[in-house]
Symmetry: C2
Subunit: 198 residues, 2 copies
Protein backbone atom coordinates (compact mmCIF):
# COMPACT_ATOMS: atom_id res chain seq x y z
CA UNK A 1 0.00 0.00 0.00
CA UNK A 2 1.04 3.58 -0.72
CA UNK A 3 -0.09 6.37 1.61
CA UNK A 4 -1.25 9.58 -0.11
CA UNK A 5 -0.98 12.83 1.89
CA UNK A 6 -2.04 16.24 0.56
CA UNK A 7 -1.80 14.86 -2.96
CA UNK A 8 -1.11 17.46 -5.65
CA UNK A 9 -4.28 18.12 -7.65
CA UNK A 10 -2.36 18.53 -10.92
CA UNK A 11 -3.51 16.29 -13.79
CA UNK A 12 -0.80 13.54 -13.77
CA UNK A 13 -1.10 13.10 -10.00
CA UNK A 14 -4.86 12.58 -10.30
CA UNK A 15 -4.31 10.04 -13.12
CA UNK A 16 -1.71 8.25 -10.95
CA UNK A 17 -4.15 8.05 -8.02
CA UNK A 18 -6.98 6.84 -10.25
CA UNK A 19 -4.86 4.02 -11.75
CA UNK A 20 -3.60 3.12 -8.28
CA UNK A 21 -7.19 2.84 -7.02
CA UNK A 22 -8.15 0.59 -9.94
CA UNK A 23 -5.17 -1.72 -9.34
CA UNK A 24 -5.79 -1.80 -5.59
CA UNK A 25 -9.41 -2.77 -6.25
CA UNK A 26 -8.19 -5.53 -8.59
CA UNK A 27 -6.09 -6.90 -5.67
CA UNK A 28 -2.71 -6.11 -7.22
CA UNK A 29 0.00 -7.83 -5.16
CA UNK A 30 3.11 -5.78 -4.22
CA UNK A 31 1.39 -2.63 -5.49
CA UNK A 32 4.13 -0.48 -3.88
CA UNK A 33 7.03 -2.20 -5.75
CA UNK A 34 8.70 0.24 -8.13
CA UNK A 35 11.89 -0.06 -10.16
CA UNK A 36 14.34 2.84 -9.70
CA UNK A 37 16.81 3.33 -12.56
CA UNK A 38 19.92 5.30 -11.60
CA UNK A 39 23.36 6.13 -12.95
CA UNK A 40 26.83 6.07 -11.46
CA UNK A 41 28.84 8.75 -13.25
CA UNK A 42 32.01 7.42 -11.53
CA UNK A 43 31.58 3.88 -12.87
CA UNK A 44 29.73 5.01 -16.04
CA UNK A 45 27.20 2.33 -15.13
CA UNK A 46 23.39 2.22 -15.20
CA UNK A 47 21.79 0.42 -12.28
CA UNK A 48 18.26 -0.59 -11.31
CA UNK A 49 16.45 -2.19 -8.40
CA UNK A 50 12.99 -2.39 -6.80
CA UNK A 51 12.07 -0.36 -3.74
CA UNK A 52 8.80 -0.02 -1.83
CA UNK A 53 7.06 3.27 -2.49
CA UNK A 54 5.68 4.33 0.92
CA UNK A 55 4.22 7.82 0.50
CA UNK A 56 3.08 10.34 -2.05
CA UNK A 57 3.30 13.62 -0.19
CA UNK A 58 2.13 16.60 -2.26
CA UNK A 59 4.23 16.20 -5.42
CA UNK A 60 6.88 14.00 -3.78
CA UNK A 61 7.14 10.20 -4.04
CA UNK A 62 8.94 8.74 -1.00
CA UNK A 63 10.80 5.50 -0.23
CA UNK A 64 13.47 4.58 2.35
CA UNK A 65 17.04 3.31 2.13
CA UNK A 66 20.39 3.04 3.81
CA UNK A 67 22.20 6.31 2.93
CA UNK A 68 25.49 4.47 2.41
CA UNK A 69 24.10 1.94 -0.09
CA UNK A 70 25.21 1.88 -3.75
CA UNK A 71 21.94 3.53 -4.86
CA UNK A 72 22.53 6.41 -2.44
CA UNK A 73 25.99 6.93 -3.90
CA UNK A 74 24.49 6.87 -7.39
CA UNK A 75 21.84 9.48 -6.44
CA UNK A 76 24.63 11.72 -5.11
CA UNK A 77 26.60 11.40 -8.36
CA UNK A 78 23.56 11.86 -10.64
CA UNK A 79 20.38 13.18 -9.02
CA UNK A 80 18.06 12.33 -11.91
CA UNK A 81 16.30 8.94 -11.97
CA UNK A 82 13.47 7.11 -13.69
CA UNK A 83 10.89 5.21 -11.62
CA UNK A 84 8.91 2.51 -13.46
CA UNK A 85 6.10 0.34 -12.17
CA UNK A 86 3.95 -2.32 -13.76
CA UNK A 87 0.63 -3.53 -12.34
CA UNK A 88 -0.24 -6.83 -14.05
CA UNK A 89 -3.83 -7.00 -12.73
CA UNK A 90 -4.79 -3.94 -14.78
CA UNK A 91 -2.00 -4.18 -17.42
CA UNK A 92 -0.81 -0.69 -16.44
CA UNK A 93 2.69 0.72 -16.68
CA UNK A 94 3.67 4.08 -15.16
CA UNK A 95 7.03 5.73 -15.88
CA UNK A 96 8.26 8.85 -14.11
CA UNK A 97 11.44 10.81 -14.84
CA UNK A 98 12.35 12.78 -11.74
CA UNK A 99 14.92 14.50 -9.57
CA UNK A 100 15.70 12.84 -6.26
CA UNK A 101 16.86 14.12 -2.87
CA UNK A 102 17.04 12.98 0.75
CA UNK A 103 14.10 13.69 3.04
CA UNK A 104 14.76 15.79 6.13
CA UNK A 105 16.32 14.27 9.22
CA UNK A 106 13.21 15.31 11.20
CA UNK A 107 10.95 13.41 8.78
CA UNK A 108 13.21 10.34 9.05
CA UNK A 109 13.27 10.42 12.86
CA UNK A 110 9.49 10.70 13.12
CA UNK A 111 8.90 7.86 10.69
CA UNK A 112 11.55 5.59 12.24
CA UNK A 113 10.10 5.99 15.73
CA UNK A 114 6.73 4.67 14.49
CA UNK A 115 8.06 1.70 12.46
CA UNK A 116 8.04 -1.93 13.48
CA UNK A 117 10.95 -2.56 15.90
CA UNK A 118 12.15 -5.64 14.02
CA UNK A 119 12.45 -3.68 10.80
CA UNK A 120 14.39 -1.03 12.70
CA UNK A 121 16.77 -3.65 14.11
CA UNK A 122 17.59 -4.62 10.54
CA UNK A 123 17.99 -1.00 9.39
CA UNK A 124 20.45 -0.50 12.26
CA UNK A 125 22.43 -3.74 11.93
CA UNK A 126 22.69 -4.08 8.15
CA UNK A 127 25.23 -2.32 5.95
CA UNK A 128 22.79 -2.56 3.06
CA UNK A 129 24.29 -4.09 -0.10
CA UNK A 130 27.75 -4.59 1.41
CA UNK A 131 29.20 -8.08 0.93
CA UNK A 132 28.89 -10.54 3.82
CA UNK A 133 30.32 -14.04 4.19
CA UNK A 134 26.96 -15.84 4.46
CA UNK A 135 23.24 -15.44 5.07
CA UNK A 136 23.82 -16.88 8.58
CA UNK A 137 26.24 -14.03 9.41
CA UNK A 138 23.49 -11.55 8.42
CA UNK A 139 21.02 -13.35 10.70
CA UNK A 140 23.50 -13.26 13.60
CA UNK A 141 24.12 -9.49 13.29
CA UNK A 142 20.38 -8.95 13.19
CA UNK A 143 19.74 -11.05 16.31
CA UNK A 144 22.43 -9.16 18.22
CA UNK A 145 20.89 -5.88 17.10
CA UNK A 146 17.46 -6.97 18.35
CA UNK A 147 18.88 -7.51 21.85
CA UNK A 148 21.22 -4.59 22.26
CA UNK A 149 20.03 -1.51 20.42
CA UNK A 150 17.68 1.37 21.07
CA UNK A 151 15.22 0.40 18.37
CA UNK A 152 13.38 3.71 18.03
CA UNK A 153 16.40 5.96 17.43
CA UNK A 154 16.96 6.55 13.71
CA UNK A 155 20.62 6.07 12.73
CA UNK A 156 22.08 8.92 10.64
CA UNK A 157 22.81 6.46 7.81
CA UNK A 158 19.13 5.59 7.29
CA UNK A 159 16.27 7.64 5.87
CA UNK A 160 13.99 8.60 3.02
CA UNK A 161 14.41 9.66 -0.57
CA UNK A 162 11.81 11.81 -2.27
CA UNK A 163 11.59 12.18 -6.01
CA UNK A 164 9.59 14.82 -7.88
CA UNK A 165 8.66 13.91 -11.49
CA UNK A 166 9.08 16.23 -14.46
CA UNK A 167 7.68 13.59 -16.85
CA UNK A 168 4.94 10.94 -16.52
CA UNK A 169 3.97 8.24 -18.97
CA UNK A 170 0.81 6.18 -18.41
CA UNK A 171 0.77 3.00 -20.51
CA UNK A 172 -2.29 0.79 -20.80
CA UNK A 173 -1.96 -2.59 -22.49
CA UNK A 174 -4.49 -3.74 -25.06
CA UNK A 175 -4.93 -7.25 -26.44
CA UNK A 176 -4.34 -6.02 -29.99
CA UNK A 177 -0.98 -4.63 -28.80
CA UNK A 178 -2.37 -1.22 -29.77
CA UNK A 179 -1.34 0.03 -26.36
CA UNK A 180 -2.54 3.39 -25.10
CA UNK A 181 0.30 5.73 -24.08
CA UNK A 182 -0.34 9.16 -22.58
CA UNK A 183 2.34 11.56 -21.38
CA UNK A 184 2.57 14.65 -19.18
CA UNK A 185 5.70 16.75 -19.41
CA UNK A 186 6.49 19.74 -17.25
CA UNK A 187 7.28 22.85 -19.32
CA UNK A 188 7.82 26.17 -17.53
CA UNK A 189 5.64 25.04 -14.64
CA UNK A 190 2.82 23.68 -16.84
CA UNK A 191 2.01 20.04 -17.63
CA UNK A 192 1.86 19.44 -21.40
CA UNK A 193 -0.35 16.46 -22.28
CA UNK A 194 0.41 14.18 -25.26
CA UNK A 195 0.04 10.73 -26.82
CA UNK A 196 2.78 8.34 -27.97
CA UNK A 197 2.72 5.68 -30.66
CA UNK A 198 2.45 2.12 -29.32
CA UNK B 1 6.33 -17.01 -21.06
CA UNK B 2 10.05 -16.97 -21.84
CA UNK B 3 11.49 -19.53 -24.27
CA UNK B 4 14.83 -21.09 -23.22
CA UNK B 5 17.09 -22.43 -26.02
CA UNK B 6 20.49 -24.08 -25.40
CA UNK B 7 20.59 -22.41 -21.99
CA UNK B 8 24.09 -21.82 -20.61
CA UNK B 9 24.80 -24.34 -17.85
CA UNK B 10 26.79 -21.79 -15.80
CA UNK B 11 25.60 -21.32 -12.21
CA UNK B 12 23.63 -18.03 -12.46
CA UNK B 13 21.75 -19.23 -15.55
CA UNK B 14 20.67 -22.39 -13.72
CA UNK B 15 19.53 -20.32 -10.73
CA UNK B 16 17.60 -18.02 -13.11
CA UNK B 17 15.85 -21.00 -14.71
CA UNK B 18 15.05 -22.54 -11.35
CA UNK B 19 13.46 -19.33 -10.03
CA UNK B 20 11.58 -18.89 -13.30
CA UNK B 21 10.16 -22.43 -13.00
CA UNK B 22 9.05 -21.77 -9.41
CA UNK B 23 7.31 -18.52 -10.40
CA UNK B 24 5.69 -20.13 -13.45
CA UNK B 25 4.36 -22.94 -11.24
CA UNK B 26 2.98 -20.29 -8.85
CA UNK B 27 1.05 -18.79 -11.81
CA UNK B 28 3.00 -15.54 -11.94
CA UNK B 29 1.18 -13.13 -14.28
CA UNK B 30 3.28 -11.21 -16.86
CA UNK B 31 6.28 -13.39 -15.99
CA UNK B 32 8.15 -12.02 -19.04
CA UNK B 33 7.85 -8.32 -18.00
CA UNK B 34 11.28 -6.89 -17.21
CA UNK B 35 12.38 -3.32 -16.54
CA UNK B 36 15.31 -2.13 -18.69
CA UNK B 37 17.31 0.77 -17.21
CA UNK B 38 19.33 2.72 -19.78
CA UNK B 39 21.25 5.97 -20.11
CA UNK B 40 21.31 8.71 -22.70
CA UNK B 41 24.79 10.22 -22.63
CA UNK B 42 23.55 13.01 -24.94
CA UNK B 43 20.75 14.09 -22.61
CA UNK B 44 22.61 12.96 -19.43
CA UNK B 45 19.35 11.24 -18.53
CA UNK B 46 18.56 7.84 -17.01
CA UNK B 47 15.51 6.11 -18.49
CA UNK B 48 13.56 2.94 -17.74
CA UNK B 49 10.65 0.96 -19.19
CA UNK B 50 9.22 -2.55 -19.25
CA UNK B 51 9.74 -4.89 -22.18
CA UNK B 52 8.70 -8.51 -22.73
CA UNK B 53 11.61 -10.92 -22.44
CA UNK B 54 11.02 -13.47 -25.23
CA UNK B 55 14.07 -15.77 -25.30
CA UNK B 56 17.09 -16.84 -23.35
CA UNK B 57 19.41 -18.20 -25.99
CA UNK B 58 22.66 -19.59 -24.57
CA UNK B 59 23.90 -16.64 -22.46
CA UNK B 60 21.78 -14.02 -24.27
CA UNK B 61 18.49 -12.55 -23.06
CA UNK B 62 16.37 -11.32 -26.00
CA UNK B 63 13.50 -8.85 -26.46
CA UNK B 64 12.22 -6.88 -29.47
CA UNK B 65 11.84 -3.20 -30.25
CA UNK B 66 11.61 -0.56 -32.91
CA UNK B 67 15.24 0.33 -33.73
CA UNK B 68 14.41 4.04 -33.97
CA UNK B 69 12.77 4.27 -30.55
CA UNK B 70 14.30 6.33 -27.71
CA UNK B 71 15.58 3.18 -25.98
CA UNK B 72 17.42 2.13 -29.16
CA UNK B 73 19.10 5.54 -29.31
CA UNK B 74 20.06 5.17 -25.64
CA UNK B 75 21.57 1.70 -26.22
CA UNK B 76 23.64 3.15 -29.09
CA UNK B 77 24.93 5.97 -26.88
CA UNK B 78 25.62 3.72 -23.85
CA UNK B 79 25.61 -0.04 -24.46
CA UNK B 80 25.46 -1.04 -20.80
CA UNK B 81 22.07 -1.59 -19.14
CA UNK B 82 20.51 -3.10 -16.05
CA UNK B 83 17.52 -5.45 -16.37
CA UNK B 84 15.36 -5.88 -13.23
CA UNK B 85 12.38 -8.13 -12.71
CA UNK B 86 10.15 -8.81 -9.74
CA UNK B 87 7.88 -11.85 -9.42
CA UNK B 88 5.38 -11.11 -6.64
CA UNK B 89 4.03 -14.70 -6.40
CA UNK B 90 7.40 -15.93 -5.11
CA UNK B 91 8.69 -12.58 -3.77
CA UNK B 92 11.72 -12.86 -6.06
CA UNK B 93 13.76 -10.05 -7.56
CA UNK B 94 16.42 -10.63 -10.21
CA UNK B 95 18.83 -7.89 -11.32
CA UNK B 96 21.25 -8.25 -14.21
CA UNK B 97 23.91 -5.76 -15.32
CA UNK B 98 24.72 -6.42 -18.95
CA UNK B 99 25.96 -5.24 -22.32
CA UNK B 100 23.37 -4.96 -25.06
CA UNK B 101 23.49 -5.27 -28.85
CA UNK B 102 21.12 -5.80 -31.78
CA UNK B 103 20.35 -9.34 -32.90
CA UNK B 104 21.23 -10.27 -36.48
CA UNK B 105 18.99 -9.26 -39.35
CA UNK B 106 18.59 -12.97 -40.22
CA UNK B 107 17.34 -13.74 -36.69
CA UNK B 108 14.89 -10.83 -36.92
CA UNK B 109 13.53 -11.89 -40.31
CA UNK B 110 12.97 -15.48 -39.20
CA UNK B 111 11.19 -14.43 -36.03
CA UNK B 112 9.07 -11.77 -37.74
CA UNK B 113 7.83 -14.22 -40.40
CA UNK B 114 6.47 -16.50 -37.65
CA UNK B 115 4.79 -13.80 -35.54
CA UNK B 116 1.11 -12.98 -35.39
CA UNK B 117 0.20 -10.84 -38.44
CA UNK B 118 -1.67 -8.27 -36.34
CA UNK B 119 1.38 -7.66 -34.16
CA UNK B 120 3.43 -7.27 -37.33
CA UNK B 121 0.99 -4.71 -38.73
CA UNK B 122 1.60 -2.65 -35.60
CA UNK B 123 5.41 -3.08 -35.78
CA UNK B 124 5.24 -1.82 -39.38
CA UNK B 125 2.80 1.06 -38.89
CA UNK B 126 3.96 2.49 -35.58
CA UNK B 127 6.86 4.89 -35.08
CA UNK B 128 7.27 3.58 -31.55
CA UNK B 129 7.34 6.30 -28.88
CA UNK B 130 6.99 9.17 -31.36
CA UNK B 131 4.28 11.70 -30.51
CA UNK B 132 0.91 11.37 -32.25
CA UNK B 133 -2.13 13.63 -32.11
CA UNK B 134 -4.51 11.07 -30.58
CA UNK B 135 -5.10 7.40 -29.84
CA UNK B 136 -7.60 7.36 -32.74
CA UNK B 137 -4.86 8.41 -35.18
CA UNK B 138 -2.77 5.47 -34.00
CA UNK B 139 -5.71 3.12 -34.57
CA UNK B 140 -6.25 4.51 -38.08
CA UNK B 141 -2.58 3.98 -39.11
CA UNK B 142 -2.79 0.46 -37.77
CA UNK B 143 -5.97 -0.35 -39.69
CA UNK B 144 -4.45 0.96 -42.94
CA UNK B 145 -1.33 -1.13 -42.29
CA UNK B 146 -3.46 -4.26 -41.79
CA UNK B 147 -4.96 -3.80 -45.27
CA UNK B 148 -2.01 -2.69 -47.32
CA UNK B 149 1.25 -4.21 -46.12
CA UNK B 150 3.14 -7.43 -46.65
CA UNK B 151 2.77 -8.58 -43.07
CA UNK B 152 5.55 -11.17 -43.00
CA UNK B 153 8.40 -8.97 -44.25
CA UNK B 154 10.43 -7.58 -41.37
CA UNK B 155 11.06 -3.83 -41.74
CA UNK B 156 14.70 -2.79 -41.24
CA UNK B 157 13.66 -0.56 -38.32
CA UNK B 158 12.37 -3.47 -36.23
CA UNK B 159 14.23 -6.30 -34.50
CA UNK B 160 15.72 -7.86 -31.41
CA UNK B 161 18.10 -6.78 -28.70
CA UNK B 162 20.19 -9.31 -26.83
CA UNK B 163 21.88 -8.56 -23.55
CA UNK B 164 24.58 -10.66 -21.90
CA UNK B 165 24.93 -10.20 -18.13
CA UNK B 166 28.22 -9.68 -16.31
CA UNK B 167 26.46 -9.47 -12.93
CA UNK B 168 23.40 -11.23 -11.45
CA UNK B 169 21.68 -10.57 -8.14
CA UNK B 170 19.00 -12.96 -6.87
CA UNK B 171 16.90 -11.41 -4.11
CA UNK B 172 14.40 -13.41 -2.08
CA UNK B 173 12.04 -11.58 0.26
CA UNK B 174 11.47 -12.80 3.82
CA UNK B 175 8.73 -11.73 6.19
CA UNK B 176 11.27 -10.56 8.77
CA UNK B 177 12.73 -8.29 6.04
CA UNK B 178 15.93 -10.32 6.46
CA UNK B 179 15.97 -10.74 2.70
CA UNK B 180 18.33 -13.23 1.08
CA UNK B 181 20.61 -11.67 -1.55
CA UNK B 182 23.04 -13.73 -3.61
CA UNK B 183 25.28 -12.39 -6.35
CA UNK B 184 27.31 -13.77 -9.25
CA UNK B 185 29.90 -11.50 -10.81
CA UNK B 186 31.95 -12.33 -13.88
CA UNK B 187 35.70 -12.00 -13.21
CA UNK B 188 38.16 -13.05 -15.95
CA UNK B 189 35.63 -15.48 -17.37
CA UNK B 190 34.66 -16.99 -13.98
CA UNK B 191 31.50 -16.38 -11.95
CA UNK B 192 32.35 -15.26 -8.39
CA UNK B 193 29.55 -16.09 -5.94
CA UNK B 194 28.75 -13.84 -2.96
CA UNK B 195 26.12 -12.66 -0.47
CA UNK B 196 24.91 -9.13 0.21
CA UNK B 197 23.49 -7.57 3.36
CA UNK B 198 19.71 -7.10 3.32
Amino acid sequence: MIQFDNLSQEAPYLVFKDKYNQSLKANQKAIEAICISSYSSKKKEVNGRYVNLKFVNGRKFIFFSNYKSPKSQEFTQHNQITASLYWSKTDTQIRMKAYIEQTSSEFNKNYFAKRDKKKNALAISSHQSSPITSYEALQKNYELSLLETNLTECPEYWGGYSFTPYYFEFWEGHESRLNKRETYELNKGKWIHGFLQA
